[in-house]
Amino acid sequence: MPVQPPKWAMKFLEWTCSSTFLDELQGDLLELFDRDLERVGPEKARRRFARKALLSPRWHRLPKFSNYHPVIMYKSHFKVAIRHALRHRSATFIQGLGLMLGLTAVFFIALYVKYESGYDHMHENRDNLYRVLRQNPKDGTRGHATSSLHGATLKEEFPFINLARYGNDPVKMGEVKPLLVEEFYWADSSFFQLFTFDFIAGDPTSCLDEVNSLVVTASLSRQLFGTTNSLGKTIPVKVYDGNQEFLMEVKGVVKDLPERSHVQFAALGPMENAEILYKQLLNQWGFSWLRTYIEVPEDRLAEVEDGIPRMLNRVMGDNRPASFGIDLQAFNDVYLHSQDIAANTFRGNIRNLKIFAAIGLLILLISLLNYVNLATARAVTRIKEVGVRKTLGALPAGIMGQFIVESVLFTLAGGVAAVCLVVSGLPYINNLLSLDLSTGVVTFWDALLIFGSLVMLGIITGILPALAMAKLPTLGDTQATLNFKPGQGSWTRKAFIGIQYFVSVGLLVGAFAVYKQYQYLKNFDLGFDSSQLVHIPVDDRDMQQKLSLIKEKIKGLPGVLGVTMTGEDLPSDLNNTWDLNWNGSGRENPLPIDIVGVDQDYFDLIGIGFKDGHNFRAGYALDSARTVVFNEEARKYLKDQYQQGQEVLINGRNRKLIGVVENHHNITLHSKVVPIAYMIFPAGFRVSADNLLVKVNTDQVSSQLGQLEEVWKEFSGDPFSYNFVDEAFAQAYQAEQRFSTLVGIFTLIAIAISIVGLFGLVSFTVQRKLKEISIRRILGATELQLTQLLGKDFLWVFILALVFALPAAWYLIGKWLNNFAYSIDLNPLMLVAAVLICLTLSALVIVYHLQRTTKINPSTILTSE
């Protein structure tokens, strides 16, 4: 068999060349192909043929659509579409409403997903950056706080990596009226090599090289100096947590940081200063105050990952606790994939994002099905028009073109309306959900993509009605016209309604479950009395020394029911985990236990009782320093070896276990109650009390807060800050609340779309069966019987949808609830409620339409033709 030119190229020629010229073109190209075969061989000949074929299209020989003049016909299509839409206003409204609601929801979700997934894109090296995490190899728990040694050791072991660490230290800046800057960090000089921020002034590579240099954001610079042009200016900086003061010089001014960077700061100082401040602490693995990031060349990542256990063994040797490990997290994962990391504050949550994306697709699906359904049903009203067109010579392709153009016009209009709704509604939604979405993330290409997708959707949704109309018989063929019932009883229509019911019921059950879970977390019995509790943080080391004094002062205030000092606020992060041993347990195998510094008033004040033993004794300071109280969870460690008064070893020091208190949730319900040891510490330790909890009388809260502030002012020049413990707990579930609200809104939209769709369909069914209904009424059918007649079709579809929707919802929601440490049990009542709601709404729609028809005298209907 001789060598042939590429088949696809021949096909391409047939596609792009009208038959008049095809022989000439193909023949000439084949002749050249034969010539090439001899001259340059088969390979090249085939390639040349393909190129010539691809370059062959010429205007004069493109295939023409006979009998169809696109431009004129489109103009006519537009005109007819608009006239038709206006003539049937209510139907147009219903059809448009469903589409617009669906598109609005989808646009909003798309915006949300785009916004949330676009974090940290400004950092040029992001693909090679990793966050260093503490990891407990035993249970896999991770934390983002690291010590100085983490980074330093990594850099020593793997000299080819780039290292940047930064650690928070609130400072006061300025002389006359010092400004408290909470977002101040000590940072490595390589900070701006890893992270990309825009500089207004200064050199990113060297701005943190020298001791006492300072980098500020533009807005902080304006606050401090009244200008962003502050390069070279000096300012006294007092470290809030200590008594040191530095005179620092501005070496760099950066533009205000982009919102969507998870690395945030107001000002940076060089790590050298921190070394002056915290000399002793920097050599301890346990002093975790930094966030550590490394940049690793792509080809050496495996080397680093494999080398970390070896490095830890080399550096720490036998002293390495079993719970000590290091994990690397890809920089791009930090914002969205950090829910499991202790004290994570990022809103990003990949799981919720995926759920929203899924809901968005479902809503899009049902609003499109709905649209197609209504469009097909509406086609009935066009029978005569299409018949006339056909009689006048319109071909099926022309009729299809007309309906597709109409559909595209409709989706585009719906899209424009949806965009307007999203843009105008965004501020309210941001407010409602405490989000900060903005349409600024939408690029020109996104807009183009949306436009393209809308046109595509219009074409896809237009195809079914278009096909139905194209099959329509020519006017005058009476018999065929009578038999023609577009969409009636067709399985597609039923399947579409079924899918809408499926989605609506499923989402409704989901929304119930999510809301219940949120309420459950919010109203959970925490095991202690969180009402009327005011929490006052004391960050100043100086003041911590005087804490007992302040406590006594506050105790004396009228309306104060009690005061206690504690090392942890409520809800707490619990970031002091120590080692526990006792006689029966091996020394080399310590168990982790969380330490909470308290005083003897703590348990009484927050209302937790003793299961066994007794409280610390007041007034016996020496005695208290050698005793400890466990919670029930910690007692479980000891099992049957527990004895009241036994000695336990905590971080190598003997303590007498004098009592056991009830478990209570001092951390949020995202994690289970952990083993805790309560101890009394004198001031000056990391675990020492640095918070006051005050129980107040609710009647006079505002005056009491005023009095508390007065006492505070006696001891400190810092602003008085406080919060209520119950509010703080409620706030911890803000993410759940937001999720619940969003799911609720989208469920409402989905149901609204489905009901609007049902409304439209029933109205067409009623119109078509108008005569049947009238005859039945004359013969004495009751309204109930008529409802049954109309509802029968829908009911079967509904039941079938339930068969699929309920198990699916049950399974998926169960999976979702598994992510919580404490979750509700799935209640069959939720399913029943969802089913009843959908059923009632559907019945209402049918009854409404019947009511409208029964108002008309049947004879009027039957006599009109």
């Binding site: 000439e24 034969d34 370059l55 010429r58 004069h60 020989r61």
Partner: protein, 107 residues
Amino acid sequence: MKGTHLGEFEELVLLTVGILNGNAYGITVMDEIASHTGRTASVSTIHATLHRLEKKGFIESFTGGASATRGGRSKRLYKINQAGQRALEKVREQRESMWKLMPKTSI
């Protein structure tokens, strides 16, 4: 008459069709132009020009015999007609009369 002006490339193709005397189709025209002027034009470009010349009424086309080398496809052969001949002569006369006016010394 509208659109009877001869473009430069059209003139070349028309001339070639005349030279080939009844044996002109895409490939022979392409080869002939290449051998006389060294210009390489794609066969599709030649087709387009031939089509244009035919529309202007300078050449006429007829279906030629099929041959095995063309995969059984027939040729479309072109032949210059009187109008084409006249148009070519007119161009030539114009050129010659202008050449006569060219001063000998100009370089």
